[in-house]
Symmetry: C2
Amino acid sequence: MESRKIYNRIAILRKEKSLTRNELADKVGVNFQTIGYLEREEYNPSLDLAFRISEVFELPVDLIFSTEPLTPLSQLLTKK
Amino acid sequence: MESRKIYNRIAILRKEKSLTRNELADKVGVNFQTIGYLEREEYNPSLDLAFRISEVFELPVDLIFSTEPLTPLSQLLTKK
DNA sequence: AATAAATATTGTAAATACACAACATTTAAT
DNA sequence: ATTAAATGTTGTGTATTTACAATATTTATT
């Protein structure tokens, strides 16, 4: 199908919680190197993995992942 | 990682719009048989495909897909 | 500056997603 | 009841996701 690249906020969200990739990987249930691949956006997560990450961060999938390059989360909070 | 099964509302949403699988497949940009696989939940879509479907239906990913078996959408609209 | 911890890179292998084809079955329309 | 359209089933092939290992590089800590 020629899959589009999906952008994500994993690295920022992980740092907000002061987690290492290893720690996040444990919570999510994947290899720590998989977190690396995702943060570098070298490949897209499966839908299940996206959901696992969304559960760990307690945020909807659409807030963490996007088909468009991501602006900093803080920017989303400003009035306009 | 042992991927969990993801449930979805594709069939209902498609029927609400009176689309055939072929028509939905065209909009989404996949083979019509892929829509079949997804509706039967025989495999999970990639994250990109989930986003494409979410774009076609103009609904967030989390409303269409879930790690839990899905209740009818109508039920979501009732007070309680 | 030396060390340790974290992250990046490269490579191999397995599982899953997706395309596509051919045929069977079900559903809808006349 | 026929026919046509839609959906299901089975199978093969390719691409992508993930695991894991080994080593290199970067960043933090002392």
